[in-house]
């Protein structure tokens, strides 16, 4: 995908133009992007909130500041992590607009062009690949590491999440329109495929391990009744869920059947 908006040649500001402290402040405020998510403007309030300190510095005149804030109170919605790239990119644009080197409408075009693709990228990698993979893998670690599995979850997930979020912000700020090429180089979709396989394998392995563990608590033949029962329930549940049976119904039916067996046997 190629997006050409504005003047990329002049899109490499130095940190000094806004200052490292102010950039950090904007980044930290961007973590509140969804605080007032609403169906009409979606993340518009969060975006304006994140950008406000930078806009205040770039536009000392009241009129220009007002106009800048209002152009970021329009509809905005993307993935909350990949939004960091857009926030960084907006700062890049706003610096040029403040210096009179760019038309104010270009920053709106930049947002509109990127929020859809970055939402798809973020949803696909973070929500539908990284989160299930780390979640399933760490759930599989619970029998071994107990409560530490939760800590491992947080560390593994956030090493990737926070690194990429900060990196995206920096790339957006320093490269402006060039961030598309930078993001493309990381090839997140290919990594997502591998992560989804990890999630599936972890869940399958954990199901078998738990069946063996629960079975070990029962004496004699009941051990194998429980082990095979758990595996049969898991297989049937997969079959039903794959055929769009609501997962809550499958859960309740399985609990009822197993509960009846436990009460009677």
């Amino acid at each position: 995908m190629k997006v050409e908006i504005g003047n990329s040649a002049s899109s490499a500001p130095s940190v000094n133009s806004l200052g490292a402290g102010l950039l950090l402040r904007v980044f930290m405020r961007s973590l509140f992007l969804q605080a007032s998510w609403n169906p009409r403007g979606m993340q518009n309030l969060g975006l304006a909130y994140a950008l406000y300190p930078a806009l205040k510095k770039l536009y000392p005149e009241r009129e220009r500041l007002n106009a800048a804030v209002r152009r970021h109170l329009t509809f905005f919605n993307t993935h909350p992590y990949s939004a960091a790239a857009i926030v960084g990119g907006i700062l890049n644009y706003e610096e040029r607009i403040a210096r009179g080197k760019e038309d104010a409408g270009k920053v709106t075009e930049f947002k509109s062009a990127l929020m859809g693709p970055l939402a798809a990228l973020g949803d696909g990698f973070f929500w539908l690949s990284l989160k299930p993979a780390v979640g399933a893998a760490c759930a599989a670690l619970v029998p071994m590491f107990r409560a530490w599995a939760a800590l491992i979850f947080l560390v593994f997930y956030n090493v990737v999440h926070l690194t990429l979020r900060a990196r995206l912000f920096w790339v957006g700020y320093t490269r402006g329109d060039g961030l598309i090429q930078e993001i493309g180089r990381v090839d997140l979709p290919a990594r997502g495929t591998w992560l989804r396989a990890v999630a599936a394998a972890s869940a399958g392995g954990l199901a078998a391990w738990l069946a063996l563990t629960f079975g070990a608590n029962e004496p004699g033949y009941l051990r194998w009744v429980l082990v095979m029962g758990c595996l049969a329930v898991g297989t049937l549940a997969y079959w039903f869920v794959a055929r769009k049976t609501p997962k809550y119904i499958v859960l309740y039916v399985a609990a009822l059947l197993a509960g009846t067996a436990g009460a009677v046997l």
Binding site: L31, F32, A35, S36, W37, P39, R40, M42, N44, L45, G46, A48, Y49, L65, R70, N77, D123, W127, L128, S129, K131, P132, G135, A136, C138, A139, V142, A147, A149, A150, F153, L154, Y157, H161, R196, A197, A199, A200, A201, A203, G204, G205, A207, A208, W209, G229, C230, L231, G234, Y238, A242, K247, Y248, L251, A254, A255, A258, G259, G262, A263
Partner: protein
């Protein structure tokens, strides 16, 4: 710890987790495995937190808020169910698989209930957005910008109250838990592994992998093989 203090603390943590999930950071403190473990640690019953958290983590593994679509609120389900299970275990004299099952069966619906609450709270956020636009038009930028932060408190209060109510319910039920006949407690204990198996199957499906079933079967087969070999060496049938 005093039960009322525990109920208050569980509500406070439930509210914070709701904020982390929706409004701030999204660093997965609100995922069931982490939220359940955290709530279990807070209420002195890590086993309940891990047992509930693992099942609900798997059960909600593939769900996510995509675009404007809302998924079930797995955080409320995990925090509320763990709070109830821990309180029930405390009152009943110990954490058991029967208690975990009872809590999950009774409170797993908190997921969809939380989603409906979130949808209802969006109306308040919409009102804030309108106020922000109006303030910006009038030139009051500070008011306009700070509307963003006002969107957080309803989530904290509503989900905190839900979680505290679950802990309170756990304590209330614990007085009657010993009246449960043995066969019913055994039935509930057997329901827990069945629900774990269902949650794992839902997780395989929710992994979004194109060959999910193949990967899951291969991993399950490997684990069963290792278990069988271990059993053989240890002299189990």
């Amino acid at each position: 710890m005093d039960p009322w203090l525990e109920i208050t603390l569980s509500g406070f943590l439930g509210g914070l987790l709701a904020l982390e999930r929706r409004a701030f950071l999204q660093a997965m403190f609100s995922r069931p495995l982490v939220a359940g473990t955290g709530m279990g640690l807070l209420l002195g019953d890590v086993s309940a937190g891990l047992a509930v958290g693992t099942v609900l983590e798997l059960f909600h593994l593939g769900s996510a808020n995509l675009g404007a679509a809302l998924a079930d609120n797995e955080t409320l389900a995990a925090a509320g169910t763990t709070a109830a299970a821990a309180a029930l275990g405390r009152g009943a004299g110990g954490s058991t698989a029967a208690i975990w099952s009872a809590a999950i069966i009774a409170l797993v619906w908190l997921g969809p209930a939380g989603r409906m609450c979130e949808r209802a709270l969006e109306r308040y956020s919409e009102h804030l957005a309108e106020k922000a636009l109006l303030s910006a038009e009038e030139g009051d930028l500070t008011t306009a910008i700070h509307q963003n932060l006002w969107g957080m408190w309803p989530h904290f209060v509503v989900f905190g109250l839900f979680t505290a109510a679950c802990a309170q319910a756990g304590y209330a039920v614990s007085h009657y838990w010993e009246l449960l006949p043995f066969w019913a407690a055994r039935g509930l204990a057997w329901a827990y592994p069945a629900m774990t198996s269902v949650a794992a199957a839902v997780a395989v499906r929710g992994s979004h992998s194109r060959r999910a079933a193949a990967y899951a079967c291969a991993a399950a087969g490997a684990v069963m093989l290792i278990g069988a070999v271990r059993g053989l060496f240890q002299g189990h049938p």
